[in-house]
């Protein structure tokens, strides 16, 4: 998350709104000049990102997506949206410094220049003795992780680093009037463990045989940021399909939609031709072909009159549903 991500809150001394950058601890009221410490429940401030798409825009984004995803144009125009729900999904943000050390044992590579029988010089890499290395780890750290299982929403992380939208101080009562606010399930300790594991992975080079480290996170600043998504449902034919739309950029995060309708003249015509041809060759062969066809129909679709009629007279068929995200 960069410096442009500012939260709008009001000063308790004079009531003026002031901006506050997520990841910092204090701010200065521009009106009365009071320094203000910004915190939250258990010392963790909570923010939310305002949605940039309203319900009609989210529906429009869905239609556009379906239009370029292989769904029939007629179906895109005729689909009916059932309902839409704005959801605020919580994400942890942890900033700080990773400091520590790591000791590694790795194989060294020795490069040797050799001259072959043709007099050509070549560089050959040979495995050298194992070397022990001690490194100091010290770097700024920025980590974000979903605060609950949001796999049903198709959102694995939010692009905090690239976000330039203003954050707002979390107001549950206000947000619950607008949509569903999901509470964080993942605890602080788990986020710290995940962040530490990420910090370790980041500083771990390849080709290490043995490693020991003492990496810690210092000057930790934690925050929870709720991210808006639209959860929509539409009907096409007799079926209902769910869609999740990113309420900030209109991206379709997760969706299931009907496959393209295709004309199927070939299968019934082939069956008729084979049966007629077999019958003309020999009646017994024709009977055998008919028996084989009915057996296949029974096994795959059933043998009701409606199924048989559908096979021979329904000339279009819809492909399987397509899942996205």
């Amino acid at each position: 998350m960069n410096g442009a991500m500012a939260a709008a809150i009001s000063c308790p001394q004079c009531g003026s709104p002031f901006s506050f950058r997520e990841g910092t601890r204090n701010a200065l009221c521009p009106s009365c000049g009071t320094s203000l410490a910004v915190s939250g429940e258990a010392g963790i401030p909570r923010f939310y990102l305002e949605e940039r798409l309203d319900l009609p825009q989210a529906r429009s984004a869905t239609r556009k997506f379906l239009a370029v995803s292989g769904v029939d144009t007629g179906l895109v125009e005729s689909l009916r949206f059932e309902k839409g729900e704005l959801c605020f999904l919580p994400f942890w943000s942890l900033k700080g410094l990773t400091v520590g050390w790591q000791w590694m044992e790795r194989e060294s590579v020795v490069r040797e220049e050799v001259v072959d029988e043709n007099g050509t010089k070549r560089t050959v890499e040979r495995r050298g003795p194992r070397e022990q290395v001690f490194e100091t780890v010290a770097s700024p750290f920025d980590f974000s992780s979903p605060a609950f299982d949001c796999s049903a929403f198709g959102l694995r992380g939010i692009a905090l680093a690239g976000a330039v939208l203003p954050l707002r101080g979390m107001d549950n009562a206000e947000l619950e009037r607008r949509g569903t606010v999901y509470d964080p399930v993942k605890g602080v300790d788990q986020v710290r463990r995940e962040a530490l594991a990420a910090a370790r992975d980041r500083s771990r080079p390849d080709g290490v045989l043995r490693i020991r480290d003492g990496i810690r996170i210092c000057a930790e600043r934690l925050a929870i940021i709720s991210y808006p998504v639209w959860r929509l449902t539409f009907t096409a034919g007799e079926r209902m399909y769910p869609v999740v739309v990113d309420a900030v950029n209109g991206r379709i995060l997760k969706a299931r939609f009907p496959g393209r309708r295709e004309i199927r003249l070939f299968a019934p015509m082939l069956v008729i031709l084979v049966l007629v041809y077999a019958w003309t060759l020999q009646r017994a062969l024709g009977g055998l072909a008919l028996f084989a066809f009915l057996g296949w129909m029974y096994a795959s679709r059933g043998l009701s009159p409606a199924t048989l009629a559908g096979f021979f007279f329904r000339l279009t068929e819809r492909r399987e549903d397509i899942s996205h995200g």
Partner: protein, 208 residues
Amino acid sequence: MDRTADIRVIPLLCPECGNRLSAGEDDVIFVCASCASCWELTEGSPARRELHHAGGVGDVRLPFWILPFHVTTREGAVDTRAAFRSLTGSLPVGDGGSDNGLPNLFVPACPFPSPPHLIRAGRLLTLRQPAVAPIPCRPERIAPIVFREEDARNMGEVILLATVTEARKKSFAFLESFSFRPGKGMLCTIPFERKGPKFYHAGMNLEL
């Protein structure tokens, strides 16, 4: 305290004299410009902190956490300044106090241009082991205090290991046996002269 939303905004006012405390974006300990008292927010309310000032000349004071420490390695316990110098292979510089006293770990409490600079500053001061004798004074310019004692404890081990010779650090057995136990920290400012982007301490011949 404003608690209209799920976010708390706490005005930083000195509980001692009521004056406004000045605070940078990342400050965790605030010094009152009016009465020179020092405060840290713990669970949303200000708690008093002792801030000491070492004697000396300089136009800016850099705050450090000074933590007396014990170290145990496979070579034995390190609980005196002399044993620490033997561990690091360093020579005494200036007045480092009694050789038999506990060694001190110096961890910067102020920001530096980058985290490696921070480690370097702590390493250089820890190697020198300056004797810090607090004096009563009300310094005008103190660099912002952005690290708490807990942060200093977390940074302590790496700063201490940075003072140890390379040959020791490369030994797995040495690191396996290395155990660092910091004592209670003291927050103390040390005067430095500003030289462009760097800080210089003439007494220790030290540039950070």
